[in-house]
């Protein structure tokens, strides 16, 4: 899914023959419009081979037999590890560009993104206010993830990382209130239809403790995967820091 985003950004017109089905979800994928113009595949080898690709970009975490079967079928496979930091994201962007034979375009874009990042983030600040990420089902995002790195770059401390809570862990509502973070970052709705998991984000206690000014809604598509969209997330996080916690 994350490599779909990068490939959609970098590939020459007509170069891609298929993307994964999640890449077409407008709430998860910033490039869903482009993705919808292409056939979607799930992790089924038959479907992938049916598109007769020369190259498959595969998540390094995909089951080993998938890559082995694809290779036996004569398809080149490039297995890539998901990026967990902005810097890794740029490296991955170059990798994908290289694999697609568009190394120059990749390097140019990566350099440009790095320049923009430096401009958005500016000088490091002395006081780093505390932010907490709270997602559906009361899960929070800790160290070793892209959101954690973007928070750090934007001058925030991440509650879950400070408490060593693991990459993706439940944070009880009570504990969240007691920690009293300066900013609460919520997911956007993942569907037009409701779920209990997301109804929790509108709990009365949260509405009372975190009025509009202390919350930021950041759709997962902006900071889950590496890509140019991370800069939008960074801009919003830096703006929120200046608004809320930036004053010494």
């Amino acid at each position: 899914m994350c490599f779909d985003q990068l490939a959609l950004t970098l590939a020459a017109p007509g170069q891609l023959v298929g993307v994964s089905d999640v890449a077409r979800d407008p709430l998860l994928s910033p490039r869903w419009r482009e993705a919808r113009a292409l056939p979607a595949v799930r992790m089924r080898i038959e479907e992938i081979l049916g598109l007769r690709p020369d190259l498959v970009l595969l998540d390094a975490q995909a089951p080993a037999h998938v890559a082995a079967l694809l290779r036996r079928a004569g398809v080149a496979v490039v297995a890539l590890r998901e990026a967990a930091t902005f810097a890794e994201g740029l490296a991955r962007l170059r990798d994908v560009a290289q694999a697609l034979g568009r190394g120059d375009a990749g390097r140019t874009l990566a350099d440009d993104l790095e320049r923009q990042r430096a401009a958005i983030v500016g000088e490091p600040t002395a006081r780093r206010p505390l932010a907490a990420v709270w997602q559906a089902n009361g899960f929070t995002v800790g160290a070793g993830t892209m959101p954690d790195d973007l928070l750090r770059l934007a001058g925030w401390r991440n509650l879950a990382a400070e408490r060593g809570m693991g990459a993706f862990a439940p944070l009880p509502l009570e504990t969240l209130l007691r920690a009293a973070p300066d900013l609460l970052i919520l997911d956007g709705a993942s569907s037009e239809r409701p779920s209990l998991a997301e109804a929790l984000l509108a709990h009365r206690a949260l509405r009372r403790e975190f009025p509009g000014g202390r919350t930021l809604v950041l759709p997962p598509g902006q900071w889950l995967c590496a890509g140019p969209q991370n800069l939008d997330a960074l801009r919003q996080l830096v703006a929120a820091r200046r608004r809320i916690g930036g004053v010494p």
Binding site: S191, E192, P194, A197, A205
Partner: protein
């Protein structure tokens, strides 16, 4: 012990468990500050945790437990069957199906009150199906078989309905609806459930005398001026309203309605009417205790409340069945 003394004891136990439920939680609180802030209406974090998170959970434990306990006693009294219970016989599952349809279709976002109304309609449908299908004076076996069928059908329909939702989280919420939980509920949920449960309790309590008379046999009841079909209609309606209101906010919490009446029946002289009232108290106590237990158990994520009550209730159901077999001499153990 005198009659009045027993009622005081029951109320004391429920009150103590309510207090315990408010004390237990993941965030440590400075109680002096919390109590002072609650009393003065000061909007601090400790006050917020107590009033908006722990209080609703404790209140819901009592309200939902009382509704299930009362409904279980009413069904056992009406059907003259020790194994009758809204959870086991599928009434709760039908209520959950109603709630699921209302919630995931988006209707509840337009009007929150649709949630308990849909759950009550579901429970009513389940009750009617049970009465029509099993019929009057059904044997324990027939009633249980029909109940198992309704339960399985409603549970499967719930899972199917959740799988149809385009929301990626919806499917995993089948655990909440079929196993029940009181985690992260708010005062909004209390405001939804409480009126429905009270509304259901009115016909149930009004039929206390009718149930007492029915326990003596239908002819005796008729001689006393009690119309059995009228009692059945009102008890069915009251059960559906109370169970629907409870399930709409907590999901299916099984076995509370089974265990609570049996726990109190010896203390109230085996009269169905009085059992109903006492069973409401016992159901509240049982649910509160189970809800405290799931929060104290060292599980990674909090256990569903229905899992806890099933751990207690399923062996109890087996024990009841054994005793029933011994009483009727209908079958012997194989091994």
């Amino acid at each position: 012990m005198s009659g009045a003394g027993r009622w005081w004891w029951l109320m004391l136990v429920v009150a103590a468990l309510l207090a315990l439920s408010i004390v237990v939680g993941p965030a440590g609180l400075s109680w002096r500050a919390a109590i002072a802030d609650v009393l003065t209406g000061h909007d601090s974090v400790p006050a917020l945790v107590v009033l908006e998170i722990r209080l609703p959970r404790a209140l819901l434990g009592a309200v939902v437990g009382a509704a299930l306990g009362m409904a279980g006693a009413a069904m056992q009294g009406l059907l003259r069957n020790p194994l009758a219970e809204p959870g086991v016989l599928g009434v709760s599952a039908c209520a959950a199906l109603g709630a699921v349809i209302a919630f995931y279709s988006g209707l509840v976002q337009l009007l929150p009150a649709v949630l308990p109304v849909a759950a009550m309609l579901g429970a009513l449908l389940g009750t009617v199906a049970l009465f029509v299908w099993a019929g009057r004076g059904a044997t324990v076996t027939t009633l249980l078989l029909v109940g198992v069928a309704i339960n399985a059908l409603a549970g499967a329909a719930t899972a199917f309905g959740l799988a149809l939702s385009p929301n990626p989280y919806a499917f995993y919420e089948v655990m909440f609806w079929l196993m029940g939980s009181l985690a992260d509920r708010s005062l909004d949920h209390v405001a939804l459930a409480l009126p429905c449960v009270v509304l259901g309790a009115i016909p149930l309590l009004a039929m206390r005398r009718g149930l007492d008379a029915l326990s003596l046999g239908e002819e005796t009841a008729l001689a006393l001026g009690i119309v059995p079909s009228r009692v059945a209609r009102w008890v069915g309606l009251g059960t559906a309203l109370a169970v629907g209101g409870a399930v709409a906010v907590s999901g299916v919490i099984g076995f509370v309605g089974l265990m609570a009446p049996h726990a109190v029946r010896p203390f109230v002289g085996y009269r169905p009417g009085a059992t109903m009232l006492a069973s409401a108290g016992a159901g509240a106590a049982l649910t509160l205790a189970a809800d405290v237990a799931v929060r104290l158990l060292p599980t990674g994520r909090e256990l569903q409340l229905g899992v806890m009550t099933a751990l207690l209730g399923a062996p109890f159901l087996g024990w009841l069945a054994l005793r029933h077999r011994a009483g009727r001499a209908g079958g012997a153990a194989w091994l």
